[in-house]
């Protein structure tokens, strides 16, 4: 069972992503964070507890309080300390090439997914994430 963090302030989109993940035929445990600050606080507090860390993060860019870019800046600093290997995807409704380019400057970002999410792609991502991402 994979653990997935959805960092997105749009409740409808979070609801739809849940539907997609479940109809992609995977069983996953999904946690929601409605802004970057909440997610970064959680990761900070649980950096040493791989059992609480996710396998995959789907990160929205436009959010209140701490947006996706601000989250990434802090995540880059935090990531080496996390006791689990996490795959992070940006999930944005933005189709601006400028943002896609900017995302490439972050090595921690595996891919830039443009909303709407496709079921096949989500299934692929969940199946591709390593089962034992635990770090020593």
């Amino acid at each position: 069972m994979k653990s997935i963090f959805l960092v997105d302030d749009d409740p409808i989109f979070v609801f739809l992503t849940r539907m997609i993940i479940s109809s992609a035929g995977t069983t996953s445990e999904i946690s929601e964070f409605s802004d970057g600050q909440m997610a970064i606080d959680f990761l900070n507090n649980n950096a040493n507890s791989p059992e609480f860390l996710p396998d995959i993060i789907f990160l929205d860019l436009s959010m209140p309080v701490m947006d996706g870019w601000e989250f990434l800046k802090e995540y880059v600093l935090l990531e080496p300390r996390l006791k689990k290997r996490i795959t992070l995807y940006i999930v944005s409704s933005s189709i601006s090439p400028h943002e896609v380019e900017r995302a490439k400057t972050f090595q921690v970002v595996s891919d830039f997914l443009i909303k709407p999410l496709e079921e096949e792609r989500v299934a692929e991502i969940i199946n591709a994430s390593p089962d034992a991402g635990r770090r020593l």
Binding site: I12, F13, L16, I20, D35, P64, I95, S96
Partner: protein, 364 residues
């Protein structure tokens, strides 16, 4: 170093005699007495053609004639007063009737009891052109920024609800369960409303940018403030907010009434929305005059905000800095658009957990 070379070097450092402005000497009635070779080069006439003619009728376009005559008359009354304390920028025309921009200063002199005027003139066409190009470049770069902002808004704020709608419709079509379909359909309404709201805000902001001829009136700020407070009455009572208003230093503003109301409403409702739960909200609204311009300030003792983090996108559309159910991030964007459309500016000062002050400077 030889003295000659030293002189040359000095010549390079200081303006040479050729750089001095062109000089024309007039008598007390404004008739041309002396016409230099520089004047010939600039205006095209030689000495014989202009000496003895009235100065203004020779080189000034007709629209400036009356002003020039008034100037001369004032010289006659006060005799030794400077005609023009500083150079003015004015248009002139030469023999070929082409108008160009000059800078002109006039000094009166009295020699053996007789009045003369000395005009110093320089051609500022090039400088004006450079200046207007600079303005154009600045304008273009501002418009470019606005365009990029606009593209981002369309690309994100409009696209997000569209994506949600299309995903919902996909699920509705695929679902075979009427109960699930009904549940999915119920989720369409808020998305549609969101799309509607974003769309309306966008249209309104474009209208503000295009509406350069909006009507302005003399507004009693106190009166506009009263309307604002009426509109926010329920919130004010609920929060037991204390509102202090003082417009005695600048009670009247010439502005589009709709904009002023919208600016006051947005800033005061922001202060109410982001009050601190730890204390009774106190909001101070006042106007002061700074260098002849009216500056409106709205200060609160609310949550405040970390400007080091958020200064860059403070007034952007869709930016929200606190968790609040009704925060959409449109208010400040609209406020800024309205203020800038009228040539003013807005800025913010804030200390987290102490409060926020917004300042709006209006163009005269």
């Amino acid at each position: 170093m030889s003295s000659q070379r030293k002189l040359n070097k000095d010549n390079k450092r200081h303006p040479g005699i050729d750089d001095l402005p062109l000089t024309i000497v007039l008598d007390g009635e404004g008739v041309i007495l002396q016409w230099s070779s520089k004047a010939r080069a600039m205006f095209g006439w030689n000495n014989r053609e202009v000496i003895g003619l009235p100065f203004h009728k020779t080189i000034l376009p007709e629209k400036h004639h009356i002003d020039f005559l008034k100037l001369l008359a004032s010289y006659e009354r006060s005799s030794t007063e400077h005609l023009l304390h500083r150079a003015i920028e004015i248009s002139a025309c030469g023999k070929d009737h082409a108008e160009f921009d000059i800078s002109m200063g006039i000094s009166p002199v009295i020699i053996s009891g007789e009045r003369f005027c000395i005009c110093y003139i320089s051609d500022i066409t090039e400088r004006k052109m450079v200046a207007s190009k600079m303005t154009l470049v600045k304008q273009l770069s501002e418009q470019n920024t606005q365009l990029i902002d606009f593209c981002n808004i369309v690309s994100h704020n409009l696209r997000a609800p569209l994506v949600n709608m299309s995903m919902l419709v996909d699920f509705i079509e695929r679902s075979g369960d009427p109960g699930e379909q009904k549940m999915l359909i119920s989720k369409l309404r808020p998305v549609l409303e969101n799309l509607h709201a974003t769309f309306n805000e966008l249209v309104e902001s474009i209208q503000i940018k295009q509406n350069l001829e909006i009507e302005v009136e003399d507004i009693q700020i106190q009166e506009c403030m009263r309307r604002t407070l009426d509109g926010l009455q329920a919130e004010i009572v609920k929060l037991r907010a204390h509102i202090k208003a003082d417009f005695s230093e600048a009670p009247v503003l010439r502005y589009p009434p709709k904009y002023l109301y919208s600016i006051l409403h947005n800033l005061v409702s922001n202060s109410l929305k982001y009050h601190s739960p730890k204390r009774q909200p106190v909001i101070t609204v006042k106007t002061v005059k700074v260098d002849g311009r009216i500056v409106l300030s709205v200060s609160d003792n609310g949550l405040g905000i970390d400007l080091n983090k958020h200064r860059h996108n403070f007034f952007k559309i869709g930016k929200v800095f606190h968790r609040h159910p009704h925060a959409k991030g449109f208010g400040l964007f609209m406020t800024k658009t309205q203020i800038e459309a009228m040539g003013g500016r807005i800025w913010v000062e804030s200390v987290p957990d102490e409060g926020t002050s917004f300042f709006v400077e209006f163009k005269n």
